[in-house]
């Protein structure tokens, strides 16, 4: 009788697959790694061999330099790759550009490691595809019923309304450098904002990478090119930490906006001095998590990181055995 833990089991380095001898998103350097997406807590440098999507390898190369691992192998979405006795397929996760779920098959057993994911539309990446499986291994970053992300177009409309209402001020949108920033810019374009968007230096290389992969971000300029007063009425996109940094003083009376799922909770916005919280997240909210589990109906649910206990309870109440892996080393989105 084959047990799921014979195929995948948690270890200090990350989720380990013994029959294929590889780790998924290991937090320490290992000999063989499968990487679900390019966020730095999932994609670290210094592994021996790395298997990931072409886009994820590109992102890692951009962040760590081309020698970030000894060997890299790109897999297209849906392409089956053999690792010893195990078959690995990368399937879109809808989280950021290149993000994938790792589908792992061995002796008739299918396990899906979701990585980070979301279910709603994102103009910068391929949508999540549910895969029937025996064990679904989910994240739970927003695994509490308080997290219900609104329609992102509505949040962008709130930003644009504020820009119109305060023409003498600048608006700085704090957004995570990989994924969120490009999604916010793309959403602004879709909402009809065709003016130049000014960006912090820390975003420039990833913006260029997204554009290379066909995501049209429209006219961008470094946020250093103008005199202070000329930034009135402008939208600036920067990493979240820049909002409170001295860097923000170069703009006239900036309205601090922050695009994050955490902005759903007012105390979080207040603590950071955010004047305009924008609830835009690249993670599944409570409803997305529960509908995904309901849709896949796995034989068992494992939860990697986040608020595991609430999601586990929900699954148990709905007749799906659940188990919290309590993996360490994965940061909460934008939670610096």
């Amino acid at each position: 009788m084959i047990r799921p833990q014979d195929l995948l089991c948690p270890k200090p380095e990350g989720l380990y697959c013994a029959p294929g001898d590889f780790y998924i998103d290991p937090v320490q350097p290992v000999a063989r790694a499968v990487i679900t997406h390019g966020h730095s807590d999932h994609a670290r440098s210094g592994h021996g061999a790395v298997l990931a999507t072409h886009e994820t390898l590109d992102i890692m190369g951009e962040r760590y330099g081309l020698g970030f691992a000894e060997a890299m192998q790109a897999a297209a979405y849906g392409e089956a790759v053999a690792r010893d006795e195990v078959e690995v397929v990368l399937v879109p996760a809808g989280h950021v550009l290149g993000s994938a779920q790792a589908v792992v098959r061995w002796k008739g057993l299918t396990m899906v490691v979701s990585g980070d994911y979301k279910r709603r539309r994102d103009p910068t990446c391929r949508p999540f595809e549910p895969v029937p499986c025996d064990v679904f291994i989910s994240e739970a970053t927003f695994g509490l019923p308080v997290f219900r992300h609104p329609d992102d177009r509505g949040e962008i409309a709130r930003l644009l309304r504020s820009v119109a209402q305060f023409p003498e001020r600048s608006h700085i949108v704090g957004a995570y450098a990989l994924g969120k920033a490009q999604r916010v810019i793309r959403l602004l374009r879709e909402a009809g904002w065709d003016k130049t968007i000014y960006v912090h230096g820390a975003l420039e290389r990833l913006n260029a990478l997204y554009q290379k992969h066909g995501v049209d971000l429209g006219p961008l300029e470094p946020a250093t090119t103008k005199a202070k007063q000329d930034f009135a009425g402008c939208i600036i996109v920067a990493p979240p930490s820049a909002l409170q940094d001295r860097w923000s003083r170069r703009f006239p009376d900036p309205v601090g906006a922050f695009a994050s799922g955490w902005m759903q909770v007012r105390a979080r916005a207040r603590q950071r001095g955010v004047e305009l919280p924008l609830v835009i997240s690249d993670h599944a909210d409570w409803d997305e998590l529960t509908t995904t589990i309901d849709e896949i109906r796995p034989g068992e649910l494992w939860i990697t990181h986040g608020r595991e206990e609430a999601l586990a309870r929900w699954a148990e109440l709905h007749g799906i055995p659940a188990r919290a892996l309590a993996l360490v080393g994965y940061e909460e989105e934008d939670d610096d």
């Binding site: 909002l243 007012r266 001095g273 004047e275 206990e309």
Partner: protein, 540 residues
């Protein structure tokens, strides 16, 4: 209701007064009647339904979801209303979302038994958590979004391009949802009548005098001088059978001061200072604080802290509006009026005769014996001036006593809000004291967040960042040692005993007067210096 929810949301996260004004003004401009009127009433605290207690809502939500999941959610968010707003499950096929006016009408007319069912129905119908949060705030009648009633009215004034004082004066004659007010503000009708016995009249305020510039231009013969009292500015009204006591912003505090109301037997409107007065002598501001913000006033409190008004102007006599008369004429009438009341609770604020500015300056520096010793300074009023609402330049000046100064050491710095959110701009400072073993240490004596220029703020901010010892959330503790640290010369208006502060003293209006980059912290003042000053003030 969505627009109102968005307004509350933004107000609660916005520190800047100007931004708040813009948000409210735009909302009032873009929202139709009667919603905007109900919103204005909610913001000014003029809604009158009986507030719903939020407790029932917890039971209601637990009927709709797993109580354990709710508990974890509440535990995470920390605020009941916000948690409920976030977790309340949508009910597809519920009624359409309610308008603000429907909600207010519902809350006004529903019986206690009906209210809960109504609120649950609205929560079911609302799509966004923000709206549910706004509803739950509204039903308690306490919005707590950091907006004063005065600022809300000012936003309405901006909408119509009228003076805020015009709205203040009208206010007590108006009723929500204020359709007549908006019709006037938008130029669609005449100004509503302010004839409303017992109403508040917007007050006249003084400019701070600029000693270097103004005295050269002003003729002492044109001005009357009187002492500036350290109480709160009030308006005492007896008109058409209505007796009221208002603060200078028009808040009705009649209920807290029945003793003062009773004293004014003749019809008229007095402008003056509310003080605690014992045997004709003015008590300290701390005594007055015992009387302020009390919900219940018992006989003991009234006897212990007898309040009175020291009158300095007369805005109406009988039913006659005296505000267009000159200060000289008003003063003559005031003196007669006060003497007719013959009450120890209504006294006249005496004029201080003088011939020249230097003579008056000497009195300000060394006030004569008696109450002037604890006055905040002097007021100058032009004999020929009308009573004009707002802060006109020229007719009235305040000339405050020089502040007290102390050298204190920066101990903690906290990040500011709004414009200042990237700066450490709120400073806690301390003076030296000794422990039992005779070792000197700093104890906090106050907190200040203004008094410095933008350039100085940058320098202090840099000092804080470079010399942080520890961080606690938005607060940093800063190096403060005898030979290294930053000394502020702190100016303040007075001292009080305080049980809340470890040092036992509390400053009134502390601010940074000067930054003493040159001074070693070891040479800053001792707590004992403040204690001696406090004793001197109390011994008067």
């Amino acid at each position: 209701m969505r627009a109102f929810a968005e307004l509350l949301d933004r107000l609660s996260l916005t520190g800047s007064r100007n931004a708040k004004l813009t948000l409210v003004r735009d909302y009032l401009r873009d929202t139709p009647d009667p919603d905007r009127g109900w919103a204005l009433a909610a913001l000014t605290g003029d809604l009158t339904f009986s507030a719903a207690k939020p407790n029932f809502i917890r039971k209601a939500v637990e009927e709709r979801m797993d109580p354990q999941l709710f508990w974890w959610s509440y535990d995470y968010v920390g605020d009941l209303a916000e948690t409920v707003a976030l977790v309340w499950p949508r009910r597809p096929g519920a009624n359409r979302e309610p308008e603000l006016s429907e909600v207010v009408e519902g809350l006004r007319t529903a019986t206690r038994a009906e209210v809960q069912r109504l609120i649950e129905g609205w929560l079911d119908a609302m799509v966004e958590p923000r709206e549910r949060w706004a509803l739950l705030k509204l039903m308690t009648r306490e919005l707590r979004v950091g907006l004063t009633a005065r600022l809300a009215k000012r936003a309405a004034a901006e909408l119509g391009g009228v003076e805020p004082a015009e709205i203040e004066e009208l206010w007590h004659a108006l009723h929500p949802p204020y359709e007549d007010l908006f019709a006037w503000l938008e130029g669609r009708s005449e100004k509503p009548s302010s004839e409303n016995p017992g109403r508040f009249r917007p007050v006249m305020l003084a400019q701070a005098i600029d000693e270097e510039v103004d005295f050269g231009k002003l003729d002492p013969a044109d001005y009357a001088a009187e002492w500036k009292w350290d109480g709160i500015r009030v308006q005492l009204v007896n008109e058409g059978g209505e007796r009221r006591l208002y603060t200078r912003t028009g808040d009705d505090i009649s209920r807290t001061f029945p003793d003062v109301l009773d004293a004014l037997f003749e019809e008229g409107v007095l402008d003056g200072e509310l003080l605690v007065v014992r045997d004709g002598q003015v008590a300290s501001f701390a005594d007055l604080q015992q009387r302020l913000n009390r919900k219940v006033v018992d006989a003991k409190l009234l006897a212990q802290y007898p309040a009175g008004v020291r009158a300095y102007d007369l805005l109406a006599e009988g039913r006659e509006d005296t505000r267009t008369l000159s200060f000289r004429e008003r003063r003559a009438r005031l003196e007669a009026f006060v003497s007719r009341q013959a009450s120890p609770r209504i006294s006249l604020s005496p004029l201080q005769p003088f011939e020249t500015w230097p003579e008056l300056a000497a009195m300000r520096a060394e006030p004569p014996a008696g109450d002037p010793q604890i006055a905040e300074g002097l007021m100058l009023k032009r004999w020929e001036s009308m009573y004009e609402a707002g802060r006109p330049k020229g007719p009235w000046f305040k000339w405050k006593r020089d502040p007290y100064l102390v050298d204190a050491v920066l101990m903690y710095a906290q990040r500011g809000h709004g414009k200042r959110s990237s700066f450490y701009s709120d400073y806690t400072f301390g003076t030296w004291t000794q422990d039992e073993a005779g070792k000197r240490y700093l104890t906090p004596v106050g907190k200040a967040y203004f008094g410095f220029t933008d350039e100085e703020l940058k320098q202090i901010d840099k000092f804080v960042r470079d010399n942080t010892v520890e961080r606690f959330g938005p607060v940093r503790s800063v190096r403060a040692e005898p030979h290294f640290g930053l000394v502020f010369e702190v100016a303040f208006e007075g001292l009080q005993r305080s049980g809340r502060h470890k040092s036992g003293v509390a400053m009134r209006f502390p601010r940074i007067n000067r930054i003493r980059w040159d001074k070693p912290p070891g040479e800053a003042d001792e707590l004992a210096t403040l204690e001696r000053l406090l004793e001197r003030m109390e011994a008067r």
